[in-house]
Amino acid sequence: MVDHTYKEPILTLRDISMQFGGEVILRDISLDVLDVVRPGVNQGQVVGFYGRSGVGKSVLCRIIAGLLPPSTGTVMVANPQRPVCPGDVGFVQQRYPLFNHRTLLDNLLVAAGRKHSPADAKAKAQDFLIRFDLAPHRRKYPAMLSGGQRQRAAIAQQLLCSEHLIILDEPFSGLDIAMIDEVKKIIIEVTTSDELNTVVIVSHDLATTTALSDTLWLLGPERDAAGQCLAGATISQKHQYNLAEMGLAWQPGIQAKPEFVQLIEHLKDEIRKT
């Protein structure tokens, strides 16, 4: 019995490569994220995105978000597919920037106002303030917030105005257990609220992220036949894991399964090797 099928593409990367002044960072990256359809379930996609520090994850995120034109290749989004423009993809950057000259509430309102009417925007912003435990701090400026509060605010801001695709660059770092659960809950909520919603999670927290994901990407340098490292990192075929196919997606309590534990060990080995 087939419990899921794939439909139209949501995000397509073709032959992406990136160089900074002759230094090759990324090369030959081709990826597809397809709309997963499960009978009876309204479910979007979650991609876990791993790689060593400094390997080029954030650079690839900026390329996907349309903020950085790649040296070669194209990124296509939306349906029908078209080249990405800034604003098509929500992107919570690694250092959680906010508008420092606006209060927390204002930050959310200015984002919500991009897509909603003023009254709606207000309601949505209030809702996020409460869900992210930020309500008591609404009048504070970003410089007065803790790291975790800033982070939640930045995530809320992107969720308030994003279309279907959103990239979170290290959303779990610096959060306590309760807040990790909260962010997890929100990711699940985002992906289950629309078929087409897709969240890409860049993370070093393999267990948490893998448990949420249905696809994994591992970015790392490749070796040629002679065992020499090639310049530039890529996401090779064998480093694109389809967890749905492996029977490791969409299951509550999956973290306890032996197959899951094995996969995490395997991922750790692969990351060490790169």
Partner: protein, 259 residues
């Protein structure tokens, strides 16, 4: 408590700190009072000449005239400089901002002569020289503030679906207004330097610069010192006022500064 005054980054209590400042000032005054320097006028002489300047030469009125001229010039220059600095976002206008900031090196005297040919009244010459001089300094400071905009900040605005113009407005215009005010405050001093000079070149208008010039010419050293102190006090007051405005309008502006 007292040793707090000699520990790096220590925060003495305000009362202690202000007592210390008061003592330092009194000490300086006493030093001046009891150990007069050879050439430098004594405190008594300065005070007497201050009184004379106020009562017979209209120091306060002249100060007021100069101050209002300076403020008017500064207001116009600020608007001009902001426009020029913001226009650097458009490549077409970048050469203008570049050229404007290099005009700092034009000398004032030559400039005054040139302006005198272009506009008719003395007041206008004065004003246009001040505006020109202040603008070129302000543009320099403002463009360097704009250049502190980071990729991350711009990307952040873009990912929220803001257009390139809106992102610029949000991040550069709104986001850096407080720093622009700071640039204006820092460059106000330049206007004072210029105004005293221009007033000596254009004597018909009077002003504190002319008063200072006369004191200089008749070697009234006490008068010179008195006027300088008055300008100094006005400047300090201005700084304080700008600081106050910044706190009021941009409460976020020094939140992340080391205290």
């Amino acid at each position: 408590m007292l040793k707090d005054l000699f520990v790096p980054n220590a925060k003495p209590r305000p009362s202690v700190f202000f007592t210390m400042v008061a003592c330092q000032v009194v000490f300086l005054l006493l030093l001046w009072l009891f150990y007069p320097l050879q050439l430098f006028p004594t405190l008594g002489e300065v005070l007497a000449s201050f009184k004379d300047l106020v009562t017979t030469q209209g120091l306060i009125q002249e100060l007021w005239a100069s101050l209002t001229t300076a403020l008017g010039a500064l207001a116009i220059a600020t608007v001009l400089a902001l426009v020029i600095a913001y226009l650097t976002a458009l490549p077409f206008f970048r050469p203008i901002a570049y050229a404007a900031s290099k005009m700092r090196y034009l000398t004032l005297t030559g400039l005054t002569f040139f302006m005198a040919l272009m506009v008719s009244s003395g007041h206008q010459v004065k004003l246009s020289v001040l505006i020109f001089g202040a603008t070129v300094y302000l543009v320099t400071g403002m463009t360097s503030v704009i250049l502190t905009t980071t990729q991350e900040e711009m990307d952040h605005a873009r990912t929220l679906g803001m257009s390139e113009w809106r992102s610029f407005y949000e991040v550069v215009v709104l986001g850096k207004l407080d720093e622009m005010l700071e640039v204006v405050r820092q460059n106000f001093a330049i206007i004072w330097t210029m105004i005293t000079l221009v007033e000596t070149l254009y004597q018909s208008e009077g002003g504190i610069g002319l008063l200072l010039y006369k004191q200089n010419r008749y070697l009234h050293l006490a008068g010179v010192v008195a006027i300088q102190l008055v300008i100094l006090a006005t400047g300090a007051l201005q700084d304080y006022l700008f600081e106050f405005l910044r706190r009021m309008f941009f409460p976020y502006s020094d939140l992340s500064v080391a205290k």
